[in-house]
Structures are given as structure tokens and as C-alpha cells.
Amino acid sequence: MSTQPHYSTAPGKALGNIPIHHRYTVGVAGERFFKAMRDRKVILAAACSSCRQRFLPPKIYCEICFVETGDWSPVEGPARVKSFTLLHRSLDEEPLTQPVAVALIVWDGVRGGILHRVGGLEDPSQLKTGLLVEPCWADERAGGVNDIRFFAPANP
């Protein structure tokens, strides 16, 4: 890995890039959140030590009271699709052969939610606001958001 820029120059133009790479730390809260997904297949929420509201994704602070969060515990019960979309183009605007379903997934009693793919649908028309879903965990989990393959309709 290098930050030496690669340039092809000619009169009138220069092709170039901003040659920067990154290695991110997942953070104090992130380590706890993703380790729990990897090791225990649970999604943790954190409760504010002042207002007691539970937040997802969990942070070390409550952004409302601006104090530290205290109790961390897994979200329980079925998740719900709060909103969704069907993607027909890739990030580079290439057409997709199959539309990809993504949704904002929320739990009752928890503020916030997480973005994820929705899979296991018999038909795209099955995807509706309010649909009850559950995480489909990957067998090999590295401690990241893709430890969940997708959310699938919950078995009643």
C-alpha cells in the first residue's frame, strides 16, 4: 500500500486520484456490539444512565442527555421493517439482474435501528412496512455488520 500518486499527464488534462487508504477502529461501543454479534449472535442496545431510553446502535453516550450509557442488553422479540426500498442499480449505476431489498429494521422499546438487506422473500411484494423479520446469521462471523446475512420474514 502506498500513497504515491499515479498520474498520467498530458497537455490539457491530468488523470489522478486522492490516494488514501484507511484502517478504522470500531471504537469502545463498536467492539462490544460487534463481538456480541460474532460470539453470541445477539444485537445489543445500550440504555442511557439518565433517561433510561435504549438506543440502537449502542453508543458510549446518550446523545440526548449527553451522559454515559449504562446497561447493555440484547434486543428482544421480533424486529419490524420501518421502511424499505428495492434497489435496481449498483453503486456504480450498473443495472442489477435482481432487485436488492434493504430496510430500516427496528425493535419495540428501542430508539434507532439498523440498516440491512432483506432476504428469504417468496416474492418482493411480500416486503411491506411493518413486516416482522429476524436476523439470518452467517455461519462464519468476523465481527461486522455482515455477520448478519440478511433479515428474513419471521416465522410466526
Partner: protein
């Protein structure tokens, strides 16, 4: 005075500066912001608006980084503004916060500076390549060190400054930094002149132990209006003057031996503060010191020494922390002795002047009486000077 409010400093907070923090930018911002609120004995509900400061997004690797960490800065549900002039940002953010309160629009402003340089690989210097001209300079693989080496060479040649003098500045700041609780591991210490002079040459004449490190960290400061202060019966440190200025954006068109950008910024701040003889009226100073030579360069730009005289004063101990006859410069330890998480490093300098004037600098407290002090930063395309004068 054309401003509606006098503006006071009610508290400041810093994280530890680190080579690589586990904390995310949001978490660093929260630690510093909540420390500043505790220092001011206030809570987030007392904060009317928030200013966020961070240097290039390329370091943290998050586009719109100041917006990304805004909830960690306590900005949820509040007016928020990012200030950005590269390395000058830490002090510029305080200037921006000052405007928010001086305007009369807000009674309080929380200013939060965050920088996580460790995310950039293989080294954040690579990110600096992209600030240069994409036709003339970037294809050569330029980074900041090139230009600073040229500037340092020009400065030392113009004034006949020996390398030992720069090593003495680095030694002073690294010694001062030993007493700073935020000092990055391994940065401060009792380094001998020989050790500093023998350190690795990075881009001659710039050497490893005369350059600030790559750092992660955050800092914050709480500003308030005179009315807010009076209601609480406080006797605070006040912001007496602010100034900033840009030289030409193209570095070849500056005479590198003297920072004109800073002379103009300083004169603006002195004028606002009613300072007519800065060498007598500024009692403690935090000049921006990412490189040892820059401290001297900037002391001249600040009019605290004649051109070419700041190095001569080093030898007399004029800038030492325990001076009684001189002006203590960088009592914090500065970027060389504490660390350089860019925006947070500038904030650290303003915080140091605040704590010095409050008499709360602990082991770093200067010996001479200090009623007025100045903090300064520099950066952007190396053409910006930002200055804040505090007084008690």
C-alpha cells in the same frame, strides 16, 4: 466595540492524545465535550449552539467528519456549524464560537475539536499530497515535509540560525510536555540536544525529534456571554481579541522566511484587544509549533520578537516556562511535546492559555504573573494564521 456580547471562557477539556486511539471520532468528541462541560459545571441543556472542528476528512476517513461526530459533540437538536482552515482550525473554531456568542444570537457555545489521524494509511502525510496543485506539484509526490523543509531552510539561511537553536526549542517543548496530562506516550521527555540533533533526517533540515507526531485526540471549550456569566456571579477569563488572515494560496508566492499571514492576524487581534505593545502586554504565549522552527517563525509573526531575533532569545531563556523577564512560550509542551491531533492540538493551545490565566495549569503554571495570553494556530494551505487573545 461593535459586538453585542463580551465572551468568556467557562471551561475546557481534552482527551489524552494518542498515536492510535480505540475510540471513534464520535467517542473522542464526547469525551472532550463532556470534560469541558464538567470543567464549566454545566450540562448539555445549558449549551445554545455547537461548533465542530476537524481538519481534512481524509485523516479520519469519514467524509463530512464534523457532521459525522456532531452527536458526540452534543450537537443533537442544536444549531451547529463546522469551521475549517486545516491546521489553523483549532483556534479558528474558538473564533467561530466567539462570533456565535459575540453576535448576541447565543448565550453559550460549545466548541469541539476532533482529529483521528491514525486512520489514514500508510501515513497521513500521503493525504497532504492532495492539497497541492494537481498539475505542477502532485505528480512529483510532494507532501508537507517538502515545503516545510524549504521554508525552514529559507528561515535559517536568512537569519543564520544554527540547528542547535531549533533543537533547544524541541527540547524545551518536550520537557514542558512531561507535565501535561494529555501528552502522547513517548513524545515528551528529557531529550538531550545531541539526541535531538542526531535524530533521523526526514527532509533536510527537518529532523524527527523536531517534528510533531501523528496523533488522535479531541478538545473542547465552553464559551458564554457576559450576561450568562453575570447571572452566575462568575469571574471568568475573557476573549479579548480574535484575528485571522490568509496569505496567497500559492506557496511559491510567499516569502518563506517570514509569516505575513500571522502578522496580519495578530494585528487584527491586538487591535481588538487594545494591545499596543504586545511584548509587554502578552504575558504567556502558545505559538503553533508543529515543527521546532515554526515556533520561532511564529513568535516573529506575532511581533513578540524582531525578524530573526526569536532564535537569539532562545539562547537567553526568554521563552522558557519559568522565565520572569521573558514571555513563556508553549508552556503546555505544544504539538512537539503533547501531540498533534490537528484541530484538537489548536484547541489544546487555547485551553492552555485559559488554564494559565486561571492559575490552574498545575506543574505547567508559568512563574511570572500572567493576566493576558495568546494562542495561535496555522495551516490550511500553509497560508492561514489564526489568533485568540484571552485576558483575566
Amino acid at each position: 466595540m461593535p459586538y453585542k456580547n463580551r465572551v468568556a471562557v467557562l471551561g475546557a477539556g481534552l482527551t489524552r492524545f494518542m498515536r492510535r486511539a480505540l475510540e471513534t471520532p464520535k467517542e473522542l468528541a464526547f469525551q472532550a465535550a463532556s470534560a469541558a462541560l464538567r470543567d464549566a459545571s454545566l450540562t448539555i441543556s445549558d449549551v445554545d449552539c455547537v461548533v465542530g472542528i476537524t481538519a481534512p476528512d481524509a485523516f479520519d476517513g469519514v467524509h463530512m467528519n464534523a457532521e459525522y461526530f456532531a452527536d458526540g459533540a452534543g450537537a443533537r437538536g442544536k444549531p451547529y456549524m463546522r469551521s475549517y482552515v486545516g491546521g489553523g482550525s483549532g483556534v479558528f473554531g474558538v473564533i467561530n464560537g466567539w462570533y456565535h456568542v459575540a453576535s448576541g444570537d447565543f448565550d453559550t457555545c460549545l466548541v469541539v475539536a476532533e482529529e483521528k489521524m491514525s486512520s489514514a494509511l500508510p501515513h497521513p502525510q500521503g493525504a497532504f499530497n492532495a492539497i497541492y496543485d494537481q498539475f505542477l506539484e502532485r505528480p512529483l509526490g510532494v507532501n508537507l515535509l517538502w515545503i516545510f523543509a524549504l521554508e525552514m531552510n529559507r528561515y535559517m539561511s536568512a537569519h543564520g540560525v544554527p540547528m542547535e537553536t531549533f533543537a533547544q526549542v524541541a527540547r524545551k517543548n518536550k520537557l514542558n510536555g512531561m507535565d501535561h496530562p494529555s501528552s502522547q506516550s513517548g513524545i515528551s521527555g528529557d531529550f538531550s540536544i545531541e539526541e535531538i540533533m542526531d535524530s533521523e533526517v526526514m527532509a533536510w533540515p527537518v529532523q524527527r525529534l523536531m517534528v510533531s507526531p501523528v496523533s488522535d485526540g479531541a478538545g473542547a471549550m465552553l464559551l458564554a456571554s457576559e450576561e450568562f456569566v453575570k447571572k452566575r456571579g462568575l469571574d471568568p477569563v475573557w476573549i479579548e481579541g480574535v484575528g485571522w488572515n490568509l496569505d496567497t494560496s500559492y506557496w511559491t508566492n510567499r516569502d518563506l522566511y517570514y509569516p505575513r499571514y500571522l502578522e496580519k492576524a495578530a494585528l487584527m487581534a491586538y487591535d481588538m484587544a487594545g494591545v499596543t505593545d504586545p511584548r509587554k502586554e502578552i504575558h504567556v504565549v502558545e505559538p503553533y509549533d508543529p515543527f521546532a522552527y515554526k515556533e520561532l517563525h511564529h513568535l516573529e509573526g506575532l511581533q513578540l520578537a524582531d525578524k530573526g531575533q526569536a532564535p537569539r532569545l532562545v539562547e537567553k531563556g526568554f521563552w522558557d516556562r519559568d522565565t520572569l523577564a521573558g514571555i513563556p512560550a508553549t508552556p503546555s509542551g505544544g504539538l512537539i511535546g503533547v501531540g498533534n491531533p490537528i484541530a484538537a492540538a489548536g484547541m489544546m493551545k487555547v485551553a492552555e492559555i485559559y488554564w494559565q490565566l486561571e492559575g490552574r495549569a498545575g506543574k505547567r503554571q508559568v512563574r511570572r504573573e500572567a493576566r493576558r495570553g495568546l494562542a495561535q494556530a496555522w495551516g490550511d494551505l500553509m497560508q492561514v494564521g489564526t489568533v485568540v487573545i484571552l485576558g483575566k
